[in-house]
Symmetry: C3
Subunit: 311 residues, 3 copies
């Protein structure tokens, strides 16, 4: 693997899932691979799970880890040809080339503004790192994608079902703040790539990028959509058409025990209890959210392993 | 040891002191113990000594260390049943369970508000980590306790005296800001648990929690109290009765060379010079404050060692 | 080496340059040297290159690294005899002695205020660490010096020329903000110490400390000065006489392809493109700025190696 910025950087998804599950059973088996190798983790935004799980994954492989909260350094410039006489102190051209000299892999977290769709969709932060860095780039959640989360989700579904083609439903749920589309986007791409019966349900006005949803069935009737589901993946996102807007926080769309029945409840976390999902679900045996978060380590680890093997 | 949130988690104090002193003489003797083990250090508050000494202690034992300033992530919710539609993005239930999957031990620093006595005394941050985490918890100073400091203090007294029952006095001293009771509380508990002649002196209005001071003699006459002391442990704390208030900053209570005579002066640091303790004391051979700070490494290391041996 | 706060702490510059180049060819050759040794990096100011390269250097030598952004702890007091009843919570006397007990080497970054020349020139932060710490101090850029950068620059010049006495010109260039003199100062000292034909060019009003420039030729005519240069080292600094002032941002002094001709362009980074140096230079083969930044690792590593060998 030469980079991991999108789930389509994975050549063989079923195989990588099995490798991740094998790493979980034996996390230190490949620690020789990372000897004398360094991962730099760059954060433009907050992180809890991604930060700790990716650092742990790298250390399981014997790598050194260096973490930089970019906001503790200075503003980077991403536009070409600018006269840099304002707030930005360093151009991404220099930053990416320089950091590449101190490390073997760079992982980047850079959220969208949710204000300028075109700018967010250009993925200018992630893509400029990919363009100018001389080492592989890992996406720790960008403006439009969170492929480490999607891989975790696929691993977790694989662990939890024996069905050939389980029914998986992605359901929108209410949230007080405007959230990005990245988790939903990557989950959709992943579900379209593995053998599941996949559909999406959300209120009108919350349609995602049609270039991502493609032919996936979409319903505005949550109850109907969740019927006989094996897995319900819960996620809020802000409007894509009215870009970055919270149209309403309709509490009727909260995921309850009654709605979910015997299905397994999934969420990428952090989750706002009793707003997105009610306590009764999260505290039940049907919740897989902790297991999902635990699998973040092995999603990151299998990606790092593939990258190290290719260095 | 299954956790270290209070000094009473130590089974045998004299034995653990001797083990800490042995680690100091040979810090890397047990570095095999921490192989493939990780310590996550979570800071809700600032730290210098605790952060560096605990990280060093873990590395002396061969552990990996991951540090997260929680304020760089997001607000956690600690109340059950809340509709999380405000500032808190993640419930402690998820956070503690999730972080537990990335580490073998979690150390937490969470100071009191000093505004709500009942809330502070509930130790809701520390106790919720203990309740929901699936790995051992170490207290790096909580609302009401600082057991790593108290262990350090006991180690330092043990190093510095041959007396069977040295006279130890805890003296309040003035400070411009409202400080917590944690250091005083844990020091008192520790002195009550080892073989010393222990008393407390403070101005009227500065009585500590009677459930902690118990039968320990308390004097309002600092000069009388310090007479013939072998160790004077200096510490400011805000009022407990008028919770979190600075009643006065009476400079007469500052610790001076004249007051302390030949006694050894102890303080947990940071110390405000010429406000809490005068320069002449801190710069004299009677000051043990640097030695105390140095012993923080071995207090943390012996605690981590006991926890690792029990994993 | 007992410390590295100034380039004159190096005994034999040509020899250390050769050692650094040898480390670059074989970065892990001395990793046994740092076993059980710790570097504490203390930042009073932002850092990208210095932070990552110094951490990498230490890890290449097998050291453990602990990083503390001092602003995440509390204000330190540097004045003797103060009654500490205001903002400072801990005196440098305690801080430096305490931190020394947790580490084998301390690296410090502490920029000038550019408001009080006398205070800045006293180097009170760096010098108080040197005075009170019991372990070697490394300067990661202080008020008046950046010796790790100057060593990097000498290494880079050595790599890029076969000439016995290349012509090196330090040229001031415009910048929107008031910048320190540290990089220029240390570069000048370094150029005065190795076998180069060295001169300085800057607009009137931008004369540096005469105790540093000494007999180095200075020209106000940039075009004349750059003629036949082998290396042009570009750097902005604020006025030294009108201390810390930006007198003008004269765009005529920006470094262009036309001005630089076939000379190699050097800069310590971060660089503001099209303000300090134009794109055409930075994107050309004549730019050495990325190579310079890469050499930061080996400048730090050779310094750490010398210090470790002397512990």
């Amino acid at each position: 693997m030469k980079k991991y910025t999108d789930i389509h950087d994975i050549e063989n998804i079923p195989k990588i899932i099995q490798e991740a599950i094998a790493l979980k059973a034996n996390p230190f088996q490949y620690e020789h691979l990372g000897k004398h190798k360094t991962l730099v983790m760059l954060f433009f935004n907050s992180s809890l799970r991604t930060r700790l799980s990716t650092e742990k994954a790298a250390k399981n492989l014997g790598m050194d880890v260096m973490i930089l909260d970019i906001n503790n350094a200075w503003n980077l410039e991403f536009k070409d040809g600018t006269i840099m006489n304002l707030d930005s102190a360093e151009h991404i051209k220099e930053a990416a080339q320089v950091i590449s000299q101190y490390t073997d892999v760079i992982a980047v977290r850079a959220f969208p503004s949710l204000k300028n769709k075109e700018e967010d969709e250009s993925e200018y932060i992630l893509n400029n790192f990919t363009k100018y860095a001389s080492v592989p780039i890992i996406n720790m959640e960008s403006a439009t994608a969170h492929p480490l989360q999607a891989l975790t989700d696929a691993i977790t579904i694989s662990e939890l079902t024996n069905k050939k083609k389980p029914k998986v439903v992605l359901s929108w749920a209410p949230h007080p703040k405007a959230l990005p589309h990245a988790v939903a986007n990557s989950f959709i791409k992943m579900m379209q790539s593995i053998d599941v019966d996949f559909s999406i349900t959300h209120p009108e006005g919350y349609a995602l990028d049609p270039n991502i949803t493609k032919n996936t069935p979409i319903s505005y009737d949550q109850e109907e959509a969740l019927k006989d589901a094996d897995f319900v993946y819960v996620k809020n996102w802000s409007s894509y058409d009215n870009y970055g807007q919270v149209l309403d926080q309709n509490p009727d769309w909260m995921i309850t025990q009654e709605k979910i029945g015997n299905a397994t409840c999934m969420h990428c976390l952090p989750v706002r209890r009793n707003m997105v999902i009610e306590d009764a679900v999260l505290d039940s045996d049907n919740s897989a959210v902790i297991q999902q978060a635990g699998n973040r380590t092995f999603a990151a680890q299998v990606v790092l392993k593939k990258i190290l093997e290719n260095l």
